[in-house]
Amino acid sequence: MVMQEMDPPRETHILLRGSYEIPGEKVDAGVPEDLLGKWPEGAPKNRLGLARWLTKPDHPLTSRVVVNRFWQQLFGQGLVKTSDNFGLQGEWPSHPELLDWLARDFIDSGWNVKALMKRLVLSSTYRQDSAASPELIARDPENRLLARGPRFRLPAEIIRDQALEISGLLKPRVGGPSVYPWQPPDLYKGIVVAASYPGTTWPESKGDDLYRRSLYTFWKRTVPHPVMNVFDAPDREVCIVRRASTNTPLQALTLLNDPIFIEAARKLAERAIHGGGLGYAFQLATGRTPDPRELRALQVSLEEMRAAFRKDEAGAKALIAVGAAPADASIPAVELAAWTAVTNIILNMDEVITKS
């Protein structure tokens, strides 16, 4: 976004009782200097001045807030858990000295985000195992003391992006206008009035644009994409710094049944059949090889699904027809469907949708 300051700036008044028809006292731009420090000498009273004030090396909040948000992104929660509130109603940092040190270091590095991220992910705190004994979980259920590695459910966008990536469907193209991946075709029915102006229909994308990262998905605030919605993506009506992370049956239904994830399961099945089998599919999804018990459970399931689809070839064909990407014709329908039913399980594993 580009904006230009008006010259001279527009006069601004307090609007009495909020009414634009009753202008009160004339006011100028300013900041709470007594609380957060003086406006820089000679800085203009506009957004440039504000930016200079915010990034003064002795500003008490900016770098702490920023560092804390990157910490939150990596660890699931900030050192100050109320990352959206450092004020009187916010929480104390769990490690105040660490926060201060990181904040100072961040300023001294010239606000180098990449260096900060590198420092965080290479720390031994971050690299700890997420596993914990029942005693440890009982003593520190929220892991505020960081005696174990972070473990939290992935954000909505990444859950979809990851399914696309694991299955090989993801198109990593960067930039460009928003895209319209699959959503239920009747989603707007009974809600959105059909009209000639934009935004009343969902012009589903074709080809590669179906499989772009979720950050490129067109966002209709009044009726957001249901997969994003179900996994706690905010509706973007107000600014949300800290997302809730819920665990609901609707999430289970989405991952189990939504065509986006069924299509991804089928493409993952194709990769597995042509590649290293079930163990390979498991590895693509979790980043580790399955242990023998896990592999055995998946193999048993595959046998069951094979037997079931042998009796229902029409069902097998229907399952592998879900999604826009064509099914690999070199694999018999029954076989591909049976594998799809198993990779469907893999994509639903807690480990897959959880960062740990």
Binding site: I191, V223, D235, I240, N247, N348
Partner: protein, 477 residues
Amino acid sequence: MECRNYSRFTSRRDLLARTGFGLGAAALHSLLGSTPATAAEHQFPNFAPRAKRVIFLFQAGGPSHLDLFDYKPAMKGRFNEDIPPSVFGTQRITGMVAQQDRFPVAPTMYGFDQHGQSGQWLSDRLPYTAKIADDICVLRGAYTEAINHDPAITFMQTGSQLPGRPSFGSWVDYGLGSENQNLPTFVVLNSLPGNGMADQGLLSRLWGSGFLPSRYQGVQFRSAGDPVLDLSNPPGITPQMRRSQLNTLATLNTQLHDRVGDPEIETRIAQYEMAYRMQTSVPDLVNVSSESQHVLDLYGPDVRKPGSFAANCLLARRLAERQVRFIQLYHRGWDHHGGLTDKLPVLARDTDQPAAGLIMDLKQRGMLNDTLVIWGGEFGRTPYAQGTMKPDSYGRDHHGRVFSLWMAGGGIKPGYSHGSSDDYGFNVATGGVHVHDLQATILHLLGIDHQKLTWLFQGRQFRLTDVGGGVVHEIIA
């Protein structure tokens, strides 16, 4: 750099509310609320509730109080006269009529009569509502601050004209939780008018949870296809295969839990089982074949038409029976700027019999005592005509200064009329009920002190009733 601006002055409830998320035990209170209302996470109800659940029959578009509930004999015979300036005052009017030279009185063309022992005044467009006149309490002095649909509906549903706040049902879910393990706590049902003409769209954010966690958002039950999105198995996956898949999944997740120890995994396993149960409970809910003809007849002929207001009223009763906490219906098409006399009878017909039938059905099952039903829209309509006017053909603009709605059951005084408008149905005369008062009263009936139901966001304790609202004790039995 010193960290001075921190405080430990957070309340116990803040702490519990905040630490609840991402934790296995507390997360068990889920969208499908496996935690009963007494969960430690909540301190509600604050006192004995009169209502256990709410059915909100929202009439989107702004039904005309002057043609339905608010009898104005003084307007009769004043067709095409100007509204006196003493009544009109200096009030804000919408841009749609701002260009009109004058604001001529448009008396209703419908007959009004008194009904029941209570002598409730109702228009002849509401013959079935007349039959429940002694069960309902009509609020004739309701008023709102907004003058257009989106802000006005948002105001009614969230307590703020600006989007971003949690919906009414989300607040109630957050406060009280669920008493049903297999269905969502907050369910939304939409219907279109019988003439198919809905001038205004809806917004799914109206049942969004705003800044509350998304598990409190309303779940829309759809009338065609899957009643809940992604409820059905994909094609080719039979229920037996799904069961087998879930068993394998549970095995894998249990092994993971044994190794990692995170209680969130146990919650996830439980949620998959709940999803599986929902695949049965939701189709059972929407399958009305077991309803007797006698009951179906109460709701009128449209009850067999999926997605109609009548069908949704019947579903609302079935949801209420299953202890669903907040059932939000939307019926659209009340925005009668022009041709009101053609359109209003259609909308009245759509809603009159089903809403009355719902009350009678709840009553015969002994459920009206603890089920609160509300019928009303975001505002009323002007006593002056918009556009060209004939005695039997006129339109009315939006009007928030006063309007009518009715409530029944759940501790509401039956056969009662509260508040009134002036001779033109333009301003509140007595018993004004602001939208926040209405919200405070509904929460009160649910046993919630509206000033205590709060959520800390952006440094402020937010409430459904924002910074206002008072309980209207006069309408409580």
